[in-house]
Symmetry: none
Subunit: 197 residues, 2 copies
């Protein structure tokens, strides 16, 4: 449900300790112990808050040996802030209808992809960008594990800026990365399916 998500976003930010964690992370990633020390709290407390922040998708984690590095997920922080305002101001009611949606989709693909299938440019507008990204990931094999090099090669077929696009794949949850291995996420996790449902 829409409402619940927004509540959780604000709950996540409605605590001074968590805000201070995010503030520290604005300078770069940090591991649990470092946070505990900086904030003068116990490690379990950090774990507790990290869990809340993770649930709301406000941070990302990266495991190296046995230490976990936390980082801001700027993208989702911003995304949720926006969604929240839209909700309160009720600018969410007037969504595209399904057919209109499908129409937009093919229009975007026509406009942004060349005949040979290459992506002319990355759309700046949010929804269009998602459509373009989706069009790309649909050409990956579900379940297959890709190395970073393979992903780069794949993207380069369509666009020279593979680094940006690879990052967007992760950011919008089209793919999941662990230890340099990339894998397609199930469709239900793709970012804009949230919007549509």
């Amino acid at each position: 449900m829409q409402l619940e998500k927004i509540v959780n976003y604000h709950k996540a930010l409605a605590d001074p300790t968590r805000l201070r964690i995010l503030l520290l992370l604005s300078e770069g990633e940090m591991n649990g112990q470092a946070l505990a020390e900086k904030l003068n709290i116990s490690q379990p407390t950090v774990t507790h808050h990290a869990a809340k922040l993770r649930e709301a998708a406000l941070i990302t984690e990266r495991r190296e040996k046995n230490t976990v590095y936390f980082a801001q997920n700027r993208y989702f922080i911003q995304q949720h802030a926006e969604a929240s305002l839209k909700f309160i101001f009720k600018e969410g009611g007037k969504e595209m209808s399904e057919p209109e949606n499908a129409q937009t989709k093919s229009a975007v693909i026509r406009n942004f992809f060349a005949k040979d299938g290459r992506l002319r440019q990355i759309p700046a507008q949010y929804k269009k960008k998602l459509i373009a990204l989706e069009h790309l990931v649909e050409q990956l094999e579900p379940g297959r594990k890709y190395s970073e090099k393979e992903i780069n090669e794949f993207i380069k077929q369509f666009h020279e800026d593979f680094a940006t696009i690879r990052r967007e794949f992760i950011m919008h949850q089209f793919m999941y990365r662990e230890d340099g291995i990339y894998e397609l996420n199930p469709r239900e996790q793709w970012t804009h399916w949230e919007n549509v449902k």
Copy 2:
């Protein structure tokens, strides 16, 4: 303290009932009883939540006879959302130095405004947008009250999308609106002066 304010903002929004109140108010003002009925909660509960929302300046109240009408305070809701993101992303620390600032400013004006004074396009980048907006509002008379129509006419001299720009004027605290009457805010309230101080 900065932190505390932001926490309170998110606490205010971190409750489903309060969000639903705001949602109802997005359609216009409402009194306590009506809210209680719509939401299926007791009147004291409404009072309780109204107090929280009022503390965070997210609603305004108007008393008529013995009934109190609540309304969204869209302006502050947006303002706090913005402040919150700025805080988390720490866009308060690394400011431009004054001379650099002045230089950037005239460069932005040169680039975004045509010879005849019209705004070619609204800058997408945050700081540049602020500079452009400031340049516009500087041409309004301090202390004078403008009707919405007058504001629209004023903006149309510079750019066709008066609705967006009018909204930005409010959003960034260049102007204050009440009952359709617009007035310039004192310079100290303009958004980016916060950053500079």
